[in-house]
């Protein structure tokens, strides 16, 4: 899709503002912390502790790089040992065999690691497999790399490789003194932290966090989950390789176990988790506390029996994780309260602007002509037929009701339209274009937006951020901001814009679902039971909202059990039963259809429905007009 590739290229906001935002950020503070360590090490400590500081910065860097995929995207990688090793071996091989600068090997290592990451991530991310599958695949990668390298003669096999000691200087990444190592590693840390901060302030920050918080909602917001995860994983892997190249030169010797062993990832996880993942400061603080502590324990408890220091270290570790579940950074955050770094400011404009809601590629069909056509669409799960065969068309500008008993296949049908999974048979086209088999974000970008029966929210987002993120794919920051403002005003969530998504009441969550769908700029809106569980008054509000959306030209398909609302709202109704259409037509026709009554409505409800359509103000026929 063209719009997909556009996401990457666009400049976000004025450079000056961006720079200021980065400088005031967590990443800048973390980088500052790194340089404080450098200053302390160089002015106050002896060579040994400077050496410890260098290794500490290596680990700090590794944790920060891992945190991008593990903390921000929420995909736990056990494979970073492999990327570390790839960096180390590339740099070692090129420099010892061809006399090339280790920097060259480092760059090659970055490339190779990124390619490796893309290869390992390809299938689990493409097919949306579980986190655990990804984690175990990366673990397998780590072991495969460890044993794989062990058998390669050119890489020294299990004997390892020695760096040449002849040359020194920046080009050889080898120094007589210790301090240049410290400076180089601090510089690597700084660059990485600032690059990550810039990325997090950009659209990717929102995309990654949304992906982590809720994949289904992120995909429905038009985010390409596959690209989002692959990008983060590749960046994280490439960054990790740099540390490997540095380590090889610093220690002067590498062997498979030392750079590819499991202890690499165990250390990374340890420092990151104790520090606190998903924040830039967490892994830095975690490393700065734990690494020296481990070193002190090793040295202080050396005279005791072998293994004592690890025992004490292990017990301390277990205690910290049990007592401080949010990590050290969680404690700090609570202590600082409101003085914690504000999230990157969104400044979504207030006010119900008269501007119309955004529209993607307004479907090029005439009012009343079919915008969406489903032909003999079916879907099986394993051996179970969820949807037998559905023929259905949605006409532009109408509100179509989709009703039927539970298990009739209504939500399955929505999932097919929204791209959650492909149909097993049949075809779906939107304004003449085939859409079956597309991914959710592609459907969203073509103008199909949906809500979920069970509301899906982004736990770490405010209401405004969630709507902004849905507006973001394929648009600039400014456009997305303006859209978010308009949509919030339209669905009546303006007053709640800065509240965390998780704190909304049920009816507000339903509105947020609709807002998120609207922000993507749909021409076809799929509403899945947005009224279930709402009080009649709230239902009335939703009915009014849906009507106003239709008035703007958005075509709506609605699955609903609240019969009086369906009867009142819909222009046309399609009834599904056992995975097939059993009736369709105008509301009053459908509500009198004996098959529909038999399969779905029941006698009493049918009376209510009939009463509602005929406008008879029976006690159940509360029409919204009476309320005004």
């Amino acid at each position: 899709m063209k719009s997909t590739s556009e996401i990457a290229a666009r400049p976000e906001h004025a450079p000056a503002g961006a720079i200021a935002a980065v400088l005031r950020s967590e990443g800048a503070v973390a980088a500052l912390l790194v340089w404080v360590v450098v200053a302390i090490a160089l002015t106050m400590l002896n060579g040994y502790w400077v050496s410890v500081a260098v290794m500490m910065l290596v680990w700090c860097y590794l944790c920060t790089a891992w945190n991008l995929i593990g903390g921000y995207v929420g995909q736990i990688s056990f494979g970073h040992g492999a990327f570390f090793g790839v960096g180390a071996y590339c740099s070692a091989y090129l420099s010892t065999t061809y006399g090339a600068s280790p920097w060259l090997g480092m760059i090659l290592g970055m490339g190779l690691s990124a390619v490796l990451a893309l290869a390992v991530g390809y299938i689990p991310f493409r097919r949306g497999l579980s986190h655990l599958v990804f984690a175990l695949l990366t673990l397998a990668l780590a072991y495969a790399a460890l044993y794989g390298v062990s058998g390669v003669r050119a890489l020294g096999g299990t004997n390892g490789m020695f760096m040449s000691l002849d040359e020194t200087g920046l080009a050889a990444l080898r120094f007589r003194d210790l301090w240049p190592y410290l400076i180089v590693m601090a510089a690597f840390n700084t660059v990485l932290l600032l690059v990550l901060q810039v990325l997090l302030n950009s659209r990717y920050g929102f995309i990654w966090r949304a992906t982590r918080d809720n994949e289904a909602a992120a995909a429905a917001s038009g985010i390409n989950l596959f690209r989002s995860k692959q990008l983060a994983f590749a960046i994280s892997a490439a960054a990790t390789a740099v540390a490997g190249g540095f380590y090889a030169q610093f220690v002067g010797f590498i062997d498979p176990h030392s750079v590819l062993g499991v202890h690499v990832i165990i250390q990374i996880l340890l420092f990151s988790v104790v520090g606190g993942t998903g924040t830039l400061l967490g892994p830095v603080v975690g490393t700065f506390v734990l690494f020296p502590l481990g070193e002190i324990m090793r040295v202080q408890l050396m005279s005791l029996e072998a293994g004592s220091h690890q025992l004490v270290y292990g017990v301390a570790l277990v205690a910290v994780i049990l007592l401080l579940p949010g990590g050290l950074i969680g404690v700090l955050r609570r202590a600082m309260g409101g003085r914690w770094f504000p999230a990157f400011s969104l400044a979504v404009p207030h006010g119900a602007s008269a501007e119309p809601l955004p529209r993607r590629r307004a479907a090029e069909v005439e009012e009343g002509a079919p915008i969406l056509i489903a032909e003999a669409v079916g879907r099986d799960f394993g051996g179970v037929v969820a949807l037998r065969s559905v023929d259905l068309e949605v006409r532009r500008g109408e509100i179509l009701g989709l009703i039927g008993p539970n298990g009739a296949g209504k939500t399955t049908f929505f999932n097919l339209l929204g791209g959650s999974f492909p149909p097993s048979r049949g075809r779906i086209s939107l304004a003449g274009q085939r859409v079956d088999g597309l991914a959710p974000h592609e459907c969203t970008q073509l103008g199909i937006a949906r809500t979920f029966q069970i509301t899906q929210t982004f736990a770490s987002f405010t209401v405004a951020e969630a709507v902004f993120t849905a507006a973001l794919p394929g648009r600039t920051f400014a456009e997305a901001r303006s859209i978010a403002g308009r949509v919030l005003a339209r669905v009546g969530l303006e007053a709640r814009r800065d509240v965390a998504c998780a704190e909304l009441t049920l009816s507000e969550q339903r509105r947020l679902e609709i807002a998120r769908a609207l922000a993507t700029g749909p021409s076809l809106l799929l509403l899945d039971e947005v009224m279930a569980g709402l009080t009649p008054t709230e239902v009335t509000g939703v009915i009014a909202l849906v009507r106003s959306l239709r008035a703007e030209g958005i075509t709506v398909v609605i699955i609903e059990h609240v019969m009086h609302a369906v009867m009142e709202l819909c222009d046309r109704i399609v009834v599904l039963d056992a995975g097939a259409v059993i009736a369709q037509g105008l509301p009053h026709e459908v509500s009198r259809d004996p098959r529909v009554i038999e399969a779905y409505l029941g006698k009493r409800a049918q009376q209510f429905a009939a009463a509602a359509t005929s406008g008879d103000a029976d006690r159940h026929g509360g029409s919204p007009n009476d309320d005004v």
Partner: protein
């Protein structure tokens, strides 16, 4: 390479796989019932293995019997670990669980190093000397006994889960602990007993292993990783899948080692694992809850 060699590798790998299954089933059950992926699983097994060594040395029992003797002790250890460490992290983020159990693994490993030193221990047994010969193929008796014991234990577990009221309760707890509570199932007690029994079963597995293998303070990690691979390959929460995965892994391990004859051979095993997982992300039997 001769067919005979491959056959020998396959047979001994298959028997080994049975013992892997017993180890992995305990992990799968704990993961299923309380959602905790225990990275210290292999280290708990290692405690059992040291226990078997001690019991055998003190009483002269065969390792298999010593394993049975160790069951109550391992259950007690399971109890303590559950109350102190596992219960607090039921329902926490996977990363926290991973890290805490990795921390526990650290502690167990270091403690073993302190108490037993880095030397290896085993239980020499007469059984190893008298294998069964089927033509050119040799079946190691301890391995065979281990396999049979593992099979019986797994069968008992399957029967318990699918045919007893407490088995239903365990499965109900695994699926929806809150609802199980509302049904009057004492969920915490179920979780505790599952962990205690799973840890206890490791004593049996330890007995089977010590029939032909040895223990050092670092063997825990390899069994943890192995069980993780099996549980995921089997399809999370699919016990029968785990059984199949364990047998497949045992055979694959022996075959790759026989075929490749290089330091890189184990890499082939992990590549195979990756490929299998990609082709069958829902577990080998395709019934697990991988997505």
């Amino acid at each position: 390479m001769s067919l005979e060699l491959l056959l020998q590798a396959a047979v001994s790998g298959f028997l080994m796989g049975g013992i892997y299954a017993l180890i992995a089933l305990a992990l799968a059950l704990v993961f299923g019932v309380m959602g905790v992926l225990n990275f210290a699983h292999g280290d708990l097994l290692m405690i059992g293995m040291y226990g078997v060594v001690l019991v055998s040395a003190a009483t002269g029992l065969s390792p298999f019997l010593a394993g049975i003797v160790m069951v109550p002790a391992m259950m007690a250890i399971g109890w303590v670990v559950f109350v102190l460490l596992i219960r607090p992290i039921v329902g926490s983020a996977p990363l926290v669980q991973a890290q805490l159990t990795i921390g526990l693994s650290f502690v167990i490993q270091s403690a073993a190093l302190l108490w037993f030193g880095a030397d290896l221990f085993n239980v020499p047994s007469e059984l190893a000397a008298s294998p069964i010969r089927l033509g050119a193929i040799v079946i190691s008796l301890p391995l065979l006994i281990g396999f049979v014991v593992a099979l019986v234990a797994s069968g008992l577990l399957a029967w318990f889960l699918s045919a007893t009221v407490w088995g239903y309760r365990v499965r109900a707890t695994a699926e929806d602990p809150v609802m199980a509570q509302l049904c009057g199932v004492p969920v915490q007690r179920v979780q505790r007993w599952v962990f205690v029994c799973a840890t206890g079963s490791l004593a049996i597995a330890a007995g089977c292993l010590m029939g032909f293998y040895h223990v050092t303070p670092v063997v825990g990690l390899q069994f943890s990783v192995l069980s993780l691979l099996i549980v995921v390959l089997g399809g999370l929460g699919d016990l029968r899948g785990a059984m199949v995965a364990a047998l497949v892994l045992g055979v694959a391990e022996a075959l790759t080692s026989a075929i490749f004859n290089s330091a890189s051979a184990p890499a082939a095993l992990y590549v195979l694992f990756g490929a299998a997982l990609l082709l069958k992300p829902h577990g080998l039997l395709g019934r697990g809850a991988a997505v």
